[in-house]
Symmetry: D2
C-alpha cells in the first residue's frame, strides 16, 4: 500500500478530534496511513491527551491509520504530503490580552479582522514562515493547508514570502451554507452559492437550493429574521430589515463588526464585564474539553466540541485535502491568490472565494467587478491586511502603526498608536522581528 | 413526464446526425422529449433527408424523443429550453467565395480567423441577432448554444447585443485533448489541461494525464513530431522542434495560420489549384453524406461524418447542455465573457477558456496575466474581433475596413480594402446592414 | 472687441466679491466683457447687495466689465463661455440641520465628506443636472466650473449624467500649498507638489521648493508641529509626531475626520454646544459680511471675507478659467475623470489630482498605483461617493441607505438609517426624486 | 559660476554638431559649462574630427562652453549632470547586415521596429546597461537622455534593469508636428496634438493649430494627399484616402511598415538592389558629412546634416534637458514608463506619449483606454518589445526566437528562426550574453 502522510502542526489543539473524525470518515477515498501530531514542548501535555483520544478513535473505527505524536519538526515534516496548521502562538493568554487591551479604548479586540487579528498575525506569521522554510527543506512538494487565524492574512504572508503551495481555509463559508440549508430544511449539499470577499469578510450572492434560485426569497427570510445569520462566537445583533433588503447579499456574521460597529463594541464591553471576553470563555470551554478528552472510555468526537466555534472546520479541511489528493475539480470556498478573480483588488493578494480544487491547487472562479456596495469595504480591509503582512515580516513600527490606523474598526490613529504600544509591550517575547527597533 | 424542448437552427445541416447521436446516448441524464429541427425554405430538401434519418436513429435507439421538422421559427422557438445553431448564411457557395477572393491577393481566406471569418461574421451576425430577438419574445429563458462560426465573434455579438443567455462552443479544444489522449494511449477523460485564448486561437498549458503533470513530456513529443498536432481540416505543416520547445505550450492547429503564415498561404494556393479550397472539398463531402443519409436502411451516425471536421462537436454540445440542465459544475472549454478571467483583455469581450458549467451558465476559471509570448497575438486578434462585431452590427464601411486591416493575416490595408470591396460586392444580398451606405 | 461671457450661478453668494476681485486682477489676460450673476427669487435681496458691490469694484478698478444681475436662467446662460456655480440649495438652514442631526447620534455632520455632504449632494445634484440640461440647450460648448460642494461628488454626477464639459474645483489644495509656502517663507508659486485622492480627501507627496525636494524636511516640520496643517474651518487637533512620520505624506486637514474621528466628534459636539456648528458660525459671518457689503463706500473685497473659508478659491477658479481660455497647458489641482490616472479606481469616477489644463480641459497626470497606506481609504470613500451620486439621481431609498452605511464616518448601518430617515423628513421639499417612494 | 556638465556617449557621431548647435542656441537658459564627447578607441578618428568642429562652432558662437574629447568613461561620467547616448555598436556595417539578412527572406530589416531593431537591441542593451552601472558609480543622480535606437526598447531595458533616471527620446513626434505646421504654414509652436503609442509606432489625435481643433481638416488633407506624411528615411508610399479617413488619426510614417507591409517589402527589395539599403545610403551620407566636417573653415552645423534623418533631434534633446534643468513643467513627447497612462498596457513597460517634464522627470498625461483600432497593434508590438529586452539581458535563445516570431513584421516562426541563426552568427563578437549557450 502507498503511504499518505499528513501532519498537523499544533496537534495538541482541542480541534484535533474534529480532524481525526474527518479523516476516519473519508478513509476510503483518502487513506491516510500516517498522521503526525506535532506540538512544542509547552504543549506536550495536551498533545498526549489528544493523541491518546485520537488513537482510541482510530481503533474504534478500525481504520489502519498510524497516529504519531512528536515534538520534533523534522521527523514530522520529512516527506509529508499534507501539512495542516492550527497553532496559537502565546496560547489563549495572548488572545485574552489581544481582546482586553483594545476594549479599554472602546475598540473591538476581535481576533480576526480587528486589532486582535493584527496582533495575532504579528506573533504567528514569523512562526509560519519558519515552518515554510523547514518544509522547503523536508517536504517541498507538500501542501500547506492553513487554518491558523487570521487565515486570510497568514495565507497571504505564505504566498508572498515562501515557495510552499498553500490554501487557506476557514469554516465561515461552510457555516453560512449550513444556515441556508437549515432555512430550507435540506442537506448542505443541496445549497449552492457564490462567495466573494476576504477571510471573515465574505458576502454570498446567487443563493440556490437544488439549482433553483432562491436569492430573493432567502434575503426576505433574513430581513424577517426567520433565517439565522450568526456564528456561535458572534453576538446575535441583527441588521434592520431595510438594511438586509438594501444589501441584498448574505453577509458573514463577522461583517457586523463593521456594519454594526457601535452596537458590537457595546456588547463586547458588557460581555467582558460579565461573562468574560470570547478568549476567556474559550479558555473555559477548552478546560472542559480536555477533561472530557482524558476519559479513557471516550473513543469518538464529543458533542461539546461544537460549542468551540469552527465546527465543520474538519469537514472543510478534510474535504479540500481529498479534493487535491483525488484531483476532484470540486468547487470549495478557500483563501487563495486573487490572480485576476476580481480586478478591483491587486493581482497578488489573497481573497476568499469559490475555487476549483484539483491536484494543482485552487483555481478561483472569475468574479469580475465587485458590486460598489461591498467594494470599498473589501478594498479598505485588504489594504490593512497588506500592511499587516508587511509589518509582521519586517517588524517595522511605522508600518505596524499605519496598518492599525487604516483598519476601519479603529476610530483614530492616536488610539491605534496607544493600543499598538501596549500590544508590543506585552507581546515582546513573541516578536523577535520588532526587537531591532527601539521606538 | 416533464417536457424538455431542444431546437437546432440549421437543422438540415449534415452535422445533425452527430447531435441526434449525442442526445440519444445521453437520454438517461438529458431526456429530450421534443427535438425541433428548424430550417429555411431553401434548406427544406436537406431538412427532410436529415429529419428522416433522425427519426430512424431515434426509433432504432428506442428512446421516446419526438423529432419535429419545421420551417416556422415561432413554432420551433416557443417555450424552448435549449437552442443550438449551426447555420451557414449563403451556404457553401458563400464560403467558397470567402476563400477564393483573398487567395487571389495571396491572403488566406480561412473561414474562422481570416478574412473568410470576417465575411461570414458580416452575413451571420444579423441573422443570429434576429433569432435572439425572436427568442426574447418566445423563449426568453432558453439557452442559446452557438456553434455557428466564427463562434467566438458570433458569441461576442450575442452577449453584447441581446439579453439571451449564451455559450459559444467549438470542437477545437476537444480535438486537442483527443490528440493528447492518443499520445498517451488513454481515454480523453484522463486528460486534463488548461486552455486560454480566443476561439480558434487557443493555447494549452499544464497538461496532465490522470492528474500527473506531463507538460514537458508532451512538449518533447510535439517537438519530436511523435504527437500529432493537427485537425483534419488544416494542412499538416509542422513547427520546428526549437520553436515548439520555445513556445512550450500546445497551440491549436489554427495557430499555424499565424505562426507559419507564409507556408500556409503557399499550401492554400497549391490546394486551391489542385484539390480545391476547403469549402470546395467540403461541398463534395456534403454531397456524399447526403447520398448516404438518404439510404432508408441507415439508422445510425455514419462513420464518414468524421471526415467533415468538427467531429466530437456533438460531444461538446450535448455534454454542455447536460451540464447546464443537471447543474453539474463540470469544467468545459467554452466561449464566454472575459469578466476578469484575464486582465489583459477588456472585461466585456469573449474568450475561450476553462469554465465551470452549471445552471447559471459558464463561470470561467481565473487565469491571471497572459504569458507575454502569447499575449500580443491574442490581444491583436481580439481587437480585430471587436471591430468585426461592430461592423456587422452597424454596417459601417470604415469600421469594416479597419477590422480587416488590423487582422494580423492581412499584409496591407490596401489589399484589405480590395478584398473588402470584392466581398461586399458578391455578398450584397446577405448584407442589408451595408445597404444604406454607397461607398 | 470679442465678447467673453461668464456666468455665476448663485451670484448672490457672499463669495462673489472674491470672484469679481479675481476677474479684475486678470482682466489683461482674461477680458470678461459680460459677467452675469444669476440667482433665484429667494436670493434676490442678497443678489442685489452683492451685485452693487460688484459694480462698485469694477468701477473702482476701471475695467470694462459689464455686471448683469438676473433671475432669468435663459438670459444668463444664453451663449455663455464659462459658467461657475456656488449655490446652496436650502441655504445655511439646510446645512445646519445637516450638521445637527448626525451629532445627536454621535456622528460628524460635516458638509463635505460626512453625512452632511451626502445630504447636500441629494439636494444639489438634481438642481445641477437641471442646469446642465439648460446649458445643453443654450450654451452647449460652455465650460461648467463647479465649486458647489461636495465638489467631487457633484462633478462626478455631471460627468456621468450630462454632456456638459466640466471641471470641479476646490480651494483645499491651494490652501495646502499656501501652508507649505508659509513654512518656507516663499511665494506659493515656488511650491511644487503632487496631489492624489478625492475632493477633501487628498494627500500631497513630492514637496519641492523652487524645484528642490523638501519632502522629508516638511514632514519633519509637520511632525514637530512647526508647520501648520489646518484650514480655518477645521478644528486644530494634531496627529502625533510618530503618525505624521509614518504617513509621510501631507494630508489635507479634512483627513482628520477619518484619522482622528473620535477626537473630531468630541470637538464637534463641544463646539455645537458652545459656539455653534460650523453652519451656525458661518451664518453669523455671512450676516456680518452682508452688512459690510451694503456699505456704499466699499469698493474692494473686504478682508473679513477670508474668515469665510475658501479663501484663494477665486484664485483657483479664475486661474483655471484663464488656463482654459488661453490654452495655457498649466498644471492645476482639479476634480476630473480618472480615466486611468490611477488603476486603483474605476476609469469613470472623478478624482482630485494634478492635471494639465488647456483648451480641451483637464488632462490628469498619470499617477500609477496608489500607496497601500492611503489606497483603502480612498477606495472606500469613492464607493460611498458612487452610491451617493446614484441615490441623488434615482432617489432610491435603498441606494441612499447603502451609501450612508458604507461611509467610513458612520459607526453603524442602523444609525445611518436613523439619520437618513430624519434627513429625508426635514429635506422633503428639496428632494422631488425621493417623492415617488413611500418608505 | 555653477558647473553644468553634459556628456554625449558616442560623441564622434555625425549627429554631434546638431547637439552642439542646440546647446549653443539655448546657452542663456541652459549654460552647459562642460561638454564631454566620449567615444571608444575605434571611433577616435571621428571623435577628433567632430570635436574640432564643435570647438570651432563654440568659438564662433562666443559661448563659454568647454568641449572635452575623451576615450575615458570615468573621466567623462564623473559628476555629470546629463548624459546623452547616440552610440551604434558594430557601426553601420552591423546595420547593413541587419537589413540585408531579412531581405533575403522577404522580410523588412528595418532598424527600429523590425528584425533589424531586434538585432540592434541585442548588441546595444548590454553596452547601455554597462554604462548605467558606471553611472551608478560616478554620477548616480545624472539623467540619461537616450536616443540610441531602438529608443523605446533600450529605454525599457534601462528602466527595468538599472536605477538610473532616464528618458528616451526620438525625433519622430517632432517631425510629425513639423509636417502639421507646414500644412498650415505656421510655426511648430502653434501646433498642439496628443500622441500615444510606442516608439516608432505612434498615432496623433486631437490636432490643433493655435488651440483650434483641426483634426477633421488635417485628416482630409492627409486623405487628399495635400499634407505630407513621411520622414526622409521612409519610402513615400501612401495610404488610400479611404483608409486615411477610416483610421482618422495621424500615424507616424513607420506605421507603413505594418499597414502597408507587402508594398514596403517590395520597395525595400528594389531599393536594396538599386540604390542600396538605408544603411548603405547612410554610410555614403556619413562619408560626405565627415569630409565636410574636416573643413577647417566650417564653424556651424552644415545643411547637409538634415538629410541624415533625425533632424530636429537636437531640438528634442536639448529642449528636454532644459525642461528638466529649469523645472519647466513643459509638455514633450517622450519614451517613459506607462505607470497607468493607459491600462491597456502593463504598468511597467515604456510607451511614447505626451508627458510633463520637470526636475523629477517625465510624468505622462493619462490617456485612458486605447481606441480599439490601434490597440491590438500597439499591444502586439509591446509584447515583442518585452521579450526583446528579456532576450538581450539574458541571452536566452528561446526568448530571442519567441521575440522575433511574434513580431508582426515576421511572416513565419520558421523564417524568424533562420534569420535569427544568421544574425547570431555574424554578430557573435557583439553578443557575449549569448556565448554561454551552444544551440
Amino acid at each position: 500500500m502507498q503511504k499518505l502522510k499528513v501532519v498537523t502542526i499544533g496537534g495538541g489543539s482541542s480541534y484535533t478530534p474534529e480532524l481525526i473524525d474527518g479523516f476516519i470518515k473519508r478513509y476510503a477515498e483518502l487513506p491516510v496511513t500516517d498522521y503526525y501530531l506535532l506540538d512544542i514542548e509547552e504543549g506536550k501535555e495536551k498533545l498526549e491527551i489528544v493523541g491518546k483520544l485520537a488513537q482510541r478513535m482510530v481503533q474504534q473505527a478500525g481504520v489502519p491509520m498510524n497516529i504519531h505524536l512528536t515534538l520534533n519538526r523534522e521527523e514530522a515534516l520529512k516527506d509529508a504530503d499534507f501539512v495542516t496548521t492550527q497553532l496559537r502562538v502565546g496560547f489563549l493568554e495572548a488572545r485574552i490580552t489581544d481582546e482586553r487591551i483594545p476594549l479599554k479604548y472602546g475598540v473591538l479586540g476581535q481576533e480576526t479582522t480587528g486589532p486582535g487579528g493584527f496582533m495575532k498575525a504579528q506573533r504567528t506569521i514569523p512562526v509560519l514562515l519558519d515552518i515554510c522554510r523547514d518544509m522547503e527543506k523536508w517536504c517541498p512538494n507538500a501542501w500547506l493547508i492553513n487554518f491558523t487565524n487570521p487565515a486570510g492574512i497568514v495565507t497571504e504572508a505564505i504566498t508572498r514570502h515562501s515557495n510552499i503551495k498553500t490554501i487557506g481555509i476557514c469554516s465561515g463559508a461552510n457555516s453560512m451554507m449550513m444556515d441556508i440549508a437549515k432555512a430550507y430544511d435540506v442537506e448542505k449539499s443541496a445549497v449552492d452559492t457564490r462567495i466573494i470577499g476576504l477571510n471573515h469578510l465574505i458576502f454570498a450572492d446567487r443563493i440556490a437550493i437544488h439549482g433553483e434560485d432562491k436569492t430573493d426569497d432567502f434575503i426576505n427570510k433574513l430581513a424577517q429574521g426567520s433565517a439565522s445569520n450568526s456564528l456561535k462566537n458572534i453576538p446575535d445583533i441583527g441588521f434592520t430589515a431595510r438594511f438586509a433588503q438594501a444589501l441584498h447579499m448574505y453577509p458573514i456574521s463577522y461583517l457586523k463588526y463593521f456594519f454594526l460597529n457601535r452596537e458590537m463594541v457595546q456588547t463586547a464591553q458588557q460581555d467582558a464585564a460579565t461573562k468574560g471576553t470570547r478568549g476567556e470563555q474559550t479558555r473555559e470551554i477548552e478546560k472542559r474539553l480536555f477533561e472530557l478528552y482524558q476519559d479513557e472510555h471516550l473513543n469518538h468526537k464529543p458533542k461539546e466540541l461544537e460549542k468551540r466555534g469552527g465546527a465543520w472546520y474538519s469537514d472543510t479541511a478534510c474535504s479540500i485535502i481529498s479534493a487535491i489528493y483525488n484531483d476532484k475539480k470540486e468547487i470549495h470556498v478557500v483563501n487563495t491568490v486573487n490572480n485576476g478573480t476580481t480586478p478591483d483588488l491587486p493581482d497578488h493578494v489573497t481573497l476568499e472565494t469559490n475555487a476549483v480544487i484539483d491536484k494543482h491547487g485552487a483555481h478561483p472562479v472569475a468574479y469580475g467587478r465587485l458590486p460598489v456596495k461591498i467594494r470599498g469595504l473589501i478594498q479598505s480591509v485588504k489594504a490593512y491586511e497588506e500592511l499587516t503582512v508587511e509589518a509582521a515580516v519586517t517588524g517595522d513600527y511605522d508600518t505596524a502603526l499605519l496598518a492599525l490606523s487604516i483598519n476601519p474598526l479603529l476610530p483614530s490613529a492616536t488610539i491605534a498608536e496607544q493600543i499598538l504600544d501596549e500590544y508590543l509591550d506585552v507581546n515582546q517575547r513573541y516578536l523577535p522581528q520588532y526587537a531591532k527597533e527601539a521606538k
